[in-house]
Symmetry: C2
Subunit: 369 residues, 2 copies
C-alpha cells in the first residue's frame, strides 16, 4: 500500500527518523503512536544482514513505561504473574501482562534499574493507561510515565563485536535481558542483551532524543568492519524464531498459555497478581488453542500479513494464520497459527488467503530453528 502517511502529532517521529530516511527507508508501520521503519526496500538483503552479519534497527517505538517510586516493585508484582523475587538491579526479564480475565495485553521486557525504578519496554498498546489505573485504584505510591527513551537495536551474529567496539569488551558477557549504564560521547545510555530476533543482539536505550542522529552515526561507524546496515524487525526471521507479535498474533481472548508464554506464568505467585485466578483455572482446564508453525504449499511472496487467514480442517474452522512470510531458511512460505489444540504438528490443514485462494499447509512445532 503506497499512500501518503498524513503528519499528525498523534504519531511521533523517532529521534532516528532523519537518519532512516537518509538510509533509504521505504515502508513504515505505526506502533505505540510512533512511526516505525519496516523496510529499506530489499527484504532479502535485510534478512541476510540480520542472519549473517549485523543490522541496526530504529525501534524507538518500544516505548519505556517507567514505574518510579517506593511502590514500583509492588506494582510490577501486581502487573505480571511472573515471579521477580530475586531480580537484581541491572537484570531484566521478558514478562506477560494480563488483564483480570487472564488475557494477554502486553509482553514487555522488564528492566529493573533500581528497587524503586522499573522500565517496561512495551509492545504496541497503551500499557501506561492500564498501569496508571491499577496503581491509582490500589493507592500505590508510584509514578507511571512514558519516557522519551528511544531504543536502537543492533542485531545479528556480529552484534557483540559492534557493541564491544562501542562500549568495551565487557558487554560481551551480558546475559540475556541484562543491561548496564554506559556513556558514549556524553550520551547517557543503557545497553542490554535483547532484541526482537533469534540472533544475538543488543538494544541501546537513548535517553536524550536530541542525540538520535549522533548515536545512529556512531553505531554505523562502529559496525563498519562487519558491514552493518539498516534494517527492521524481520517478518521471516521472527517467524522462524517463533517470536510473538503481541497484538498481531493475539486477539482479545488470548491467554499466555495459548502463545507459548506459560513458562512466564508462575501459578504460585501472590494472589494480588492480576489475572492469576483466571490463569490458574485456564492452566487446570488446559487452554483451548495453541500456537504452531505452518509451512504453506506456496512460495508466492504476496503478503498475507494484513489480516488473519482462516485455517480449516475438513472444511471446519480450526484456527487462524496470524502471520506469514517467505522463509529463506525453509524455502517456503511459513507462518504462525493460533489453532485449536486438537490439531498438532504433522497435521495437514487448509489456509484461505485474502484473495480467496485455498492453499494446503503442514503444521509444525515452533520455533522453526
Amino acid at each position: 500500500m503506497a499512500f501518503q502517511i498524513s503528519p499528525s502529532p498523534r504519531i511521533e517521529r523517532s529521534p532516528y527518523y532523519a537518519a532512516t530516511v537518509a538510509d533509504g527507508v521505504t515502508a513504515f508501520s505505526t506502533y505505540n503512536h510512533m512511526l516505525m521503519p519496516t523496510s529499506y526496500g530489499d527484504p532479502q538483503a535485510e534478512y541476510r544482514r540480520l542472519t549473517e552479519g549485523v543490522a541496526m534497527w530504529d525501534v524507538a517505538v518500544e516505548r519505556q513505561v517507567e514505574l518510579a517510586g517506593p511502590d514500583a516493585g509492588t506494582l510490577v508484582r501486581i502487573l505480571t504473574p511472573r515471579r521477580l523475587d530475586h531480580l537484581a538491579p541491572g537484570q531484566g526479564r521478558y514478562v506477560a501482562i494480563c488483564d483480570h480475565r487472564g488475557t494477554l495485553i502486553n509482553d514487555p521486557v522488564l528492566l529493573k534499574l533500581a528497587e524503586d525504578r522499573i522500565w517496561l519496554s512495551i509492545a504496541d498498546g497503551d500499557l501506561a493507561l492500564w498501569a496508571r489505573a491499577i496503581a491509582a485504584e490500589r493507592g500505590l505510591h508510584v509514578q507511571v510515565n512514558v519516557l522519551p527513551v528511544a531504543p536502537l537495536a543492533v542485531q545479528g551474529p556480529h552484534a557483540a563485536g559492534v557493541a564491544a567496539a562501542l562500549f568495551g569488551e565487557e558487554v560481551r558477557g551480558l546475559p540475556p535481558f541484562a543491561f548496564r549504564r554506559v556513556m558514549l560521547s556524553g550520551m547517557d545510555l543503557l545497553v542490554g542483551r535483547s532484541g526482537w530476533s533469534g540472533e544475538d543482539g543488543f538494544e541501546i536505550y537513548l535517553q536524550d532524543p536530541a542525540r538520535g542522529i549522533d548515536l545512529w552515526e556512531r553505531v554505523r561507524a562502529a559496525g563498519r568492519p562487519w558491514n552493518i546496515g539498516p534494517g527492521a524487525p524481520n517478518p521471516a526471521e521472527r517467524i522462524e524464531s517463533g517470536l510473538l507479535s503481541c497484538g498481531g498474533d493475539t486477539d482479545d481472548r488470548t491467554n499466555p498459555f495459548e502463545v507459548r508464554m506459560g513458562r512466564y506464568v508462575d501459578l504460585e505467585t501472590a494472589d494480588a497478581a492480576i489475572g492469576i485466578g483466571a490463569l490458574r483455572r485456564i492452566a487446570a482446564e488446559g487452554p483451548q488453542r495453541h500456537q504452531l508453525g505452518v509451512v504453506l504449499d506456496t512460495d508466492d511472496p504476496a503478503p498475507t500479513d494484513d489480516l488473519w487467514c482462516e485455517i480449516t480442517v475438513d472444511g471446519v474452522l480450526a484456527g487462524h494464520l496470524t502471520a506469514s512470510a517467505v522463509s529463506p531458511r525453509i524455502g517456503a512460505r511459513i507462518g504462525i497459527a493460533l489453532i485449536d489444540r486438537r490439531h498438532g504438528p504433522g497435521d495437514r490443514v487448509t489456509v484461505t488467503l485474502p484473495d480467496g485462494q485455498r492453499v494446503g499447509a503442514d503444521l509444525r512445532a515452533l520455533p522453526f530453528r
Copy 2:
C-alpha cells in the same frame, strides 16, 4: 511522506477500505489500531464539499467501546466527571474521560443504548484497557468490549437531506448526539446527529462489517442529488470550528479546563468519579494553560502538523502550536495553541516552524467561526 504502509494485523482495515481505495484515497493516518483515510488528493475540493455540500467519511476508526451489564451505568459515572443523571436511551453526550490526576485521556461521544448498554465512540487510545482495569478493580458487573462497529460520517450543510433520503424525514429532528436504530436493506444500523466537524452531520454505525461496501454505495447513491463525495476529517475546518483532537492537541498533563472542556466537568458530581478531586483543585486554582486560536503571518501551505511548534513571547517559551492548516475562510494559516494563561486573544506571539523559521502570529479566541 510517501512511504509504503506495511500490512500488519495490528493495524486493521476498515470495512469501507476497498471503497475508499476505489474512490481514490491518497493518504492515511492510523488511529485506534486502524487505517484512517485522511485525503483524496484535493484538499480544497474536500473543504468545499464539507462546508458547502456534503461529504462522506470513513471514520470506522472511531471504535465503539461497549459497557454492557447491570453496572454499566455505575461504571460510566466513575469514568466521566460529566453528570448523566437524566440521560435517556437514544440520547448521547460528548464527555471527558480523565485519569486520577485529572488528565484528559479520551473525549468520546457517549451513546446510551439502554440502561445496561452504553457505547463510547472513542478518540485515539486504548480506552478499553482503562475501562476494564477500573471495572475489575471496583468489582463491577459489566463487560467492556471493543465492538466491530464502523461509523460512516455524512457531514456538511446537506447532510440532513442525505440522511432523510436514507432513513426517512424524521431523522431531521434528531437533536445533537441523539441517535436511533434504523434498518437499511437488512442492515441493522444506528444513526446519530454527530461528527467531527462544525457543520451539520450524521454518523451511521454499521454493525455488520461484511456490509461496508454496500452501505458506502447506498450513502453515495442517496447523496447524488447533492453531489456527495468522499472526504475525511478536515484539518482546516476543524481548526476553524475549534474542535479538539485528543492526543493531538493534548499532552500527558492536559486537563479538560485547559482545552475548553470545563463545561463538561460537573464539579458537584459524585466523589466516585475518577479525577474529580484533582479537577476540583484545578478549578479552584485555575488551570495553567488555555487553548486559543492562532493566525500566522503566512499562508505557506507546507504542513507543520507533525509536531508541536514552540510559541514564544519576547523570546520566552509561552506554549505550543498543536495544529495548523491554511484556512479558506480566514485566508491565512491558522492554528490551535495550548498556551500559558498570561497570554490572551489579541496578543502577538512568535511561532518557530519545524524548519526553524520564525513566524509572527496573533492569538484569537476559539472557535474562529
